[in-house]
Symmetry: C2
Subunit: 246 residues, 2 copies
């Protein structure tokens, strides 16, 4: 399947931003104004908030990647943005909301229902997207993965051999299955944790870090709440990818 570019714009730092579709899946590809082709690629994980809401954060990460000489790309997750509604996912989110409003603990069943079908559907889509991106003459790899829903990133890093380094943002509600998949990962990893983020399960994040099978892994914990990731933390992720993708 080939990418169909649907629009493009040149950002003020020279980065070329192109919207695409791949078999109905919307995505965005960013490439630096001038970098030797073929260039390395960072896959930027997305979240169920959708491309429109995530755009500022994704574009900022893409610009950093471009400044370091990497292409960057993201896709819309199943059921998000303008993609068809996904009844099972909406049911799981409604169950979660009801549980949280009732002040009850979130059960493993709800966590699994919220996460596993999404991972099952999204990971093959990321792999097809990677196939299509690597067929472009300007993109040659190596390939890294960064951010988004941690369970998607963990499985992708475990099953996709072309991904050679990954950065994860610790979040909430990690299914048991993700811990098992984490043990099978051996590539270099960088994990970001917002220590005072009340939507994080910090204990689970630290246990997940411990579970990763990689010999080379780092955890960077900072303060600042859910969205207050300090600039130095983003710089450290950029340095991680420069070490492993160049």
């Amino acid at each position: 399947m080939a990418l169909h570019f649907t629009s493009e714009q040149r950002l003020d730092d020279g980065v070329l931003e192109r919207a695409f579709t791949l078999g109905g899946i919307p995505g965005i590809l960013w490439t630096p104004a001038s970098a030797p082709a073929p260039m390395p690629l960072i896959l930027l994980g997305n979240t169920p908030l959708g491309l429109d809401k995530m755009y500022p954060r994704l574009a900022a990460r893409a610009r950093q990647a471009a400044a370091d000489g990497f292409a960057a790309a993201t896709i819309e997750l199943p059921g998000s943005g303008k993609r068809p509604r996904w009844a099972a996912a909406e049911q799981a989110r409604a169950d979660l909301r009801r549980t949280l409003e009732a002040g009850e603990p979130v059960s493993d069943e709800i966590i699994d229902a919220l996460t596993i079908p999404l991972v099952d559907a999204a990971v093959p889509e990321w792999q097809s997207t990677l196939d299509a991106l690597l067929s472009l003459p300007e993109i040659g790899g190596p390939v890294g993965y960064s951010g988004g829903v941690i369970s998607i990133g963990v499985r992708l890093a475990a099953v996709e051999p072309r991904i050679v380094a990954a950065a994860f943002f610790a979040g909430s509600f990690v299914p048991r299955a993700t811990f098992e998949e984490a043990r099978g990962i051996t590539i270099p990893l960088h994990v970001l944790l917002q220590w005072d983020d009340e939507s994080n399960d910090r204990r689970a994040a630290l246990d997940l870090f411990d579970a990763f099978g990689s010999k080379e892994k780092s955890l960077h914990a900072n303060m600042g709440g859910h969205t207050g990731v300090p600039q130095s933390a983003g710089d450290a992720v950029a340095q991680f990818f420069t070490r492993h993708l160049k």
Copy 2:
């Protein structure tokens, strides 16, 4: 009290290394070949291993500091190196060895005996050393503290207002008192933890990080065992001091 310089040598990167004594306490001051005076200063924490054994690590940190435009200095701890033997400290270490050899858990009493008298004696010495260093025309501050015995660094950071940023290396055997002093610290902090260091109490290190009162604090955990701190971790400490001392 004034510093008495006892010897000096110019290192191959131009850094000037001067040995000194201050009222019987041996120390070393490193200054960059060329930096605008008066320059900032990083106090490099030492350990009971002593200046001779710690020299390679301390000199490496000092050269990094010099490359960033900072002076760096360290002193010998009470009872270490060529300083007079300290019977109570030796007794505490003998008790620790006996406990470890017997496979028994290390009691709070032994941890306290090992640490608190050393902190009580060392912190005023570091403060006197800082007084003397700041009286040199080439050193003006700001002042940071980095490494060494974590309980010494925690108390120093809590009581010495001239220290504006501190980096700690998580170690073992942290007394209860250190946790209380940690709550009173408000300056920016950077904590390094070797995740797979078997001589660390990882749980205690994470709890201590949580206890620090600072709004701005980071924990960087890496693999590599006790002495295998990756270069990227040292770079992050250097970037931390550049952010806060310049």
